[in-house]
Symmetry: C3
Subunit: 220 residues, 3 copies
Amino acid sequence: MLSADALSSTLTAVEFAAVAVFAGSGALAASRKEMDIFGFALLATVTGTGGGTVRDMLLGNLPVFWVKQPAYLVICLVIAALMFFTAHLMSSRYRVLVWLDAIGLALVAVLGAERALATGADPLVAVTMGVITAAFGGIIRDVLSGEPPLLLSRHEIYVTAAMAGAIVFVALTGLGVPRIAAVGAGFVIGFTLRACAIRYGWALPGYKPRPGREPGDIGY
Amino acid sequence: MLSADALSSTLTAVEFAAVAVFAGSGALAASRKEMDIFGFALLATVTGTGGGTVRDMLLGNLPVFWVKQPAYLVICLVIAALMFFTAHLMSSRYRVLVWLDAIGLALVAVLGAERALATGADPLVAVTMGVITAAFGGIIRDVLSGEPPLLLSRHEIYVTAAMAGAIVFVALTGLGVPRIAAVGAGFVIGFTLRACAIRYGWALPGYKPRPGREPGDIGY
Amino acid sequence: MLSADALSSTLTAVEFAAVAVFAGSGALAASRKEMDIFGFALLATVTGTGGGTVRDMLLGNLPVFWVKQPAYLVICLVIAALMFFTAHLMSSRYRVLVWLDAIGLALVAVLGAERALATGADPLVAVTMGVITAAFGGIIRDVLSGEPPLLLSRHEIYVTAAMAGAIVFVALTGLGVPRIAAVGAGFVIGFTLRACAIRYGWALPGYKPRPGREPGDIGY
């Protein structure tokens, strides 16, 4: 089994990765809106840190993580600057945004659940925290950049992927699996589900209006 | 007069009712967007718990109420599942959404004010807390589901109803009325006002542009 | 050098000014949507206090400033009432809104940075706090009133002005300049930059798609 130190530094690495990929998706959203370099910096920072910020506020871990550790801001700013000068090299910025969003979604879902468990929360709360924090990074980006939220791409598996990743992590942790392995498994499941949704159009049945909706129809 | 225990359990029941009806309105919004069942779960949970979450964060009651008491999440998920299978039976889902929103609005306004008073806040702060938390549940739902905010249905009494309910509660409490009675009176006033707005189109005069706005008109 | 008391009362005056001008811009947004007087009150209050509220929640200064000091609410309500009866006298409400927003932006950016430094945060965190809190007041107003965010007026200097003001304040403070002078200098720089953007259309180069974006073009 890994030591507490190794666990802590692995989780820190995961948090950095989550912040970095969401920051990248924020910078790409800024490039699609043709913002200036400080607009890139703001959108990268807010998107990169958004999910973890909401998580820390809900759990009462204040001040939030990036106030305690400014390196998270540095990474957002570096990514914003890199993207400002290189985003035009990508053949499809929207596709890259969607894939970065997918990686970030899976990372943040597991991290949100992990942080909640670490503060003694109930497993159901931990899963919810994972889902909400995974959704919020992208929602903030989409609202700030005036795009229709990715979250609302109806039938596509999005919230579902975050929930699956968080559930796998929480369940494995409950079964006594080492936390790092549980983090890895949760990420793989969450990302794979979302990836299949993007690549193969996997979807759950959406709510569909069914017969019997019209008052006159009732009874048929 | 009621014991502290009876007060506390009554307030808990009111909080459960508020979460449940807002969760129902969130699930209906999800059904209108034809989301999948996990989309229902997310929108029901975020709408159901949104107002109280903002309230707890502003007051510093952290972690927020549903982290301490996961039963609030269970009720949101149950309602999301029920709605996913039954929403099509309603002849007008939007009308039901509007009425659930009205009940939730009145409940959350009083609860927000009550929680603020309980932490020693000023009466003005308590009324503001009631109004803001009542407005936020619906705003989050409407932003997440891409609908124009109900709050903005201009002249219609909406914010006003929340404010009236919160003021009645705070005033009666200040006059020494038992807290449970004040909660009840605040809810009845808030809900009745909003109900009349929905049913009879009650409205306050909106801001109307008046003569003298055009630069050329000034002085006439 | 000024005493701690004088510093504290100057900062309180700056906070009042920031709340007041943002409240005014919120009330103007309400007037443009022809809301009723309670809609004015809500939009003025949420816009006026929004930036500082987000700042206090991120830093863990809870309950937030207006819960501790209800006079901030009184000023929002007074401004909402004044605007409800006088906004029609302005020849261009949108122009006034834009200018109030500019003053508020510069004030909140410096205040956010100052509060962050006061709680022992890193200079980079302080600048970020200034920018985020300056942006949030306006974002909340624009989302609530259904307007396209001012923040997104692409090339125009907006985020940049907030960042410049916060950087000047943090840098001068680091150099040992008395805090009140640093606050003043930061405000002047931030406001001047934004004013030039409004008045003379100053802008930074936005991100522009460049050659090589189309897959077929690569290699040519």
